[in-house]
């Protein structure tokens, strides 16, 4: 019933530039036959790869630590297992494998051994592929969405990338914005 909050949540997602189709997929109800409910699983190496991927999306900068430091590498597979319907789980899992194959194909190395610029190039190719093919969702969009969600709701994201006020105690709708002031986390 808290409508403004709901709007704000949507704004948050828009704010992080999710494509609208991704948002729809993330929140839609999926009713799936029982036999589609077998879940995917992820290895320790997968989590390392996802942490590296997340750190390409949200790297450490002068301003704040990146997604890997914020624990997004384990957040992503947990969210995939708990919060995504099987079809998207499988898209995600096979996309993760394809990213590994692409690393081998392009550089003859596994993803974790790539140099930073190689990782960036590879992730950029995945982005381009999603846009070119107008995919409603892909490994890239799901992993990117979850990186942004996980990072900006993490303690590092809330308190270092942004500023978190647990109990403001008052409302000032005409406060001065000081140059360089971070955005509120919530």
């Amino acid at each position: 019933m808290d409508r403004r909050k709901a709007l704000k949540n949507v704004a948050f997602l828009l704010g992080t530039a999710l494509s609208s189709s991704t948002i729809g997929v993330l929140f839609e109800n999926f009713t799936l036959p029982e036999d589609e409910k077998n879940q995917v699983s992820f290895s320790g190496t997968d989590e390392e790869i996802l942490a590296e991927f997340a750190d390409i999306i949200i790297p450490t900068t002068k301003l704040s630590p990146g997604a890997k430091a914020a624990g997004v590498g384990t957040f992503i597979p947990m969210m995939i297992r708990d919060c995504y319907p099987p079809a998207m789980q499988h898209t995600f899992a096979s996309g993760l494998k394809e990213m590994e194959s692409k690393a081998m194909q392009d550089y003859n190395k596994n993803f974790l051994s790539l140099a930073d610029d190689q990782k960036q190039k590879l992730v950029g190719d995945l982005r381009k592929d999603t846009i070119d093919k107008k995919l409603p969702y892909s490994f890239f969009t799901i992993a990117r969405d979850l990186t942004l969600l996980g990072y900006f709701s993490s303690e590092i994201g809330c308190t270092q990338a942004r500023e978190y006020l647990p109990i403001p105690g008052k409302y000032d709708g005409n406060a001065e914005y000081k140059p360089g002031q971070k955005a509120w986390a919530t």
């Binding site: 019933m1 808290d2 409508r3 403004r4 909050k5 709901a6 709007l7 704000k8 949540n9 704004a11 948050f12 704010g15 992080t16 530039a17 494509s19 993330l26 109800n29 999926f30 390409i56 999306i57 949200i58 790297p59 900068t61 704040s64 990146g66 947990m78 969210m79 708990d82 919060c83 319907p85 982005r127 999603t130 846009i131 890239f140 990117r144 942004l148 996980g150 990072y151 900006f152 709701s153 993490s154 303690e155 809330c158 942004r162 403001p168 105690g169 008052k170 409302y171 000032d172 709708g173 005409n174 406060a175 001065e176 914005y177 002031q181 971070k182 955005a183 509120w184 986390a185 919530t186």
Partner: protein, 567 residues
């Protein structure tokens, strides 16, 4: 049937209140304070104020799924997940839909919470009086039946409930939105102030914009703390800063030592005594043990939410009341209404780059109804109001599609240069006899009860109004200097506003209505219904404040009648 006499005595009270939400809490408070021993029956779990608000003080990173729902939650809550209210942070306030199914002849989103406090814990807190326009509209245009009361009948009761509940707001002297006994208003932010000034100037004060009137305290009030501007209300407030059963009416009722609260008590039906022609009590199914138990009282207040109460009444059949208790009129279950919303317009405000907000205001702006009054004529009946507000978000228009990397991340660490400003309409729905609920005996809930079937839809009047809800909003925003104004209609189904009302309406004529002007059943004098089901029309304002006022008024009348020996 042999009934153990001692047990019967133990299970006898002066009054039974069915339900513990906004109106049930008020009934319990008023009846106990007037000296009655009251049993309050709640179908769900107990919730203790503050102690049981598990998530209230959690930081964003303390939620496992960053606020998102799991596949398992989506599976067990297929209705509650249709819209935003059910969230990770407040998941325990919403029903498992698989336990309590209902039949949708047409789509109807039924949001429910089974626990002490009911929706008083999760409500939007917007609190507006109805005006005489609202009480007279049915009579004037012939839709629905005439309200048996007018504003003057409710004025002192609005005063009374506002002063206890604590409603913050700004007096505006607007005929369609009477002023109340307000605590100091919350502030408009700089963009909202600018929009207010420009709208009021452009329309020469034939339209106004005011801060939302909300049941959030702006100053400490009756032992409760003031709002801390966290905007986390639906988790339960550890400061008691918004009105809920737990923060407000329940402590008052408990202080009399005349209140017994019984959680896990599903009222299956009201027991009718054909000799006295009154209700003698209720039959309860214990939600945990499935045991059936009877409780008895001189008065029964039915406050189980509009559709919950209507189910109980329809399910209370006897030779004298074959179609449901007090349903000789045939109106019980009919005239279901809900507000229609989710359409309006939004845009961006520039020129406020040097301003930001401090604190999170759990409130927005309000534009009260201005249509179909005076010289304003529309091609539909009744009208709508707007809720909305402005905020400076972190939305950066210049971010490329699916961008990533360090610059992108740093950009998201700062607020956007532009503010966004939106207006969302809340429209009145007319009462239509054919929008109805009835009992579907082919299906059963977890406790073996038949289920409710709902057959309700918006019609032409609502559809026409929605066009204006978008276009008027866009016009006003443009007149206010807002840029990139876009209209939206995100589609609305009855139930989504969670303002369902009307299925046991009040009226002067027993042939046309279920309740009289005191919310008392025409046919069963010791049964009172004071939740949303009593409403002959719904105006376009948020209705809970009116339920509170009607409940306090009905309780006052009921106790007087009881003392006179008339009940």
């Amino acid at each position: 049937m042999n009934i153990n006499t001692n047990l019967k005595e133990q299970n006898t009270y002066d009054a039974i209140v069915i339900g513990s939400g906004i109106s049930g809490g008020w009934a319990a408070k008023e009846l106990t304070e007037k000296g009655l021993n009251v049993l309050m029956l709640e179908r769900g779990m107990n919730v203790e104020h503050i102690k049981d608000y598990d998530s209230a003080m959690k930081a964003p990173w303390e939620f496992e799924h960053a606020g998102k729902l799991t596949e398992e939650q989506k599976r067990t809550h297929p209705v509650q997940t249709r819209d935003y209210p059910y969230q990770e942070a407040n998941e325990k306030w919403w029903v498992n839909d698989l336990d309590c199914p209902y039949t949708e002849d047409k789509r109807f989103d039924w949001y429910r919470g089974f626990h002490v406090g009911g929706k008083s814990l999760t409500w939007g807190r917007q609190s507006y009086r109805f005006s005489d326009h609202n009480f007279e509209d049915n009579k004037k245009d012939g839709h629905g039946n005439d309200w048996p009361i007018r504003y003057k009948d409710l004025t002192k009761w609005y005063d009374y409930v506002e002063q206890f509940a604590g409603i913050s707001g700004q007096a505006e002297n607007w005929p369609l939105l009477p002023d109340g006994k307000f605590l100091p208003p919350m502030d408009l932010n700089c963009v909202e102030k600018s929009v207010k000034e420009r709208i009021e100037k452009h329309y020469n004060k034939s339209r106004i914009l005011t801060i939302g009137r909300t049941a959030n305290l702006t100053v400490p009030h009756k032992g409760r703390g003031s709002c801390q501007y966290r905007n986390l209300c639906s988790r339960g407030c550890p400061f008691g800063a918004y009105f809920s059963t737990q923060s407000s009416t329940l402590p008052a009722a408990m202080a009399t030592k005349r209140l017994t609260v019984r959680p896990y008590s599903i009222v299956n039906h009201i027991i009718y005594d054909k000799d006295t022609k009154k209700a003698k009590g209720v039959m309860v199914i214990d939600a945990k043990t499935n045991e059936s138990i009877e409780f008895y009282a001189k008065i029964v207040f039915v406050n189980g939410s509009t559709l919950g109460s209507t189910f109980i009444l329809l399910n209370s059949t006897s030779d004298a009341h074959p179609n449901g208790l007090g349903n000789a009129s045939g109106q019980l279950g009919h005239n279901l209404m809900d507000h229609h919303f989710r359409c309006g317009a939004s845009g961006s405000a520039v020129g406020f780059e040097d301003k930001y907000t401090y604190g999170r205001r759990a409130n927005g702006i309000y534009v009260p109804r201005y249509q179909n009054v005076g010289n304003d004529k529309r091609d539909y009946l009744r009208g709508f109001g707007y809720q909305g507000g402005a905020s400076r978000g972190s939305w950066h228009e210049e971010v490329a599609e699916l961008e990533f990397g360090g610059d992108f991340k740093d950009k998201l660490s700062f607020p956007a240069d532009t503010w966004s400003m939106g207006l969302g309409g809340f429209g009145e729905m007319l009462p239509y006899y054919e929008n109805k609920v009835y009992i579907d005996h082919t299906r059963k809930d977890k406790w073996g009860q038949s289920v409710l079937a709902i057959d309700c839809e918006y019609k032409e009047n609502e559809k026409k109004m929605r066009i204006d809800m978008m276009n008027d909003a866009a016009e006003m925003l443009e007149a206010s200097g807002i840029k990139n104004v876009k209209t939206f209609d995100n589609e609305c189904y009855p139930g989504m506003a969670i303002h369902e009302m009307g299925t046991a309406r009040m009226g002067n004529d027993p042939k046309e209505s279920v309740l009289n002007k005191w919310n008392q059943m025409h046919e069963v004098s010791n049964v009172f219904v004071t939740d949303g089901s009593c409403m002959p029309s719904i105006a376009c304002q948020n209705p809970s404040l009116t339920f509170m006022a009607l409940t306090a008024r009905a309780a006052d009348y009921a106790v007087k009648e009881l003392k006179k020996g008339n009940i």
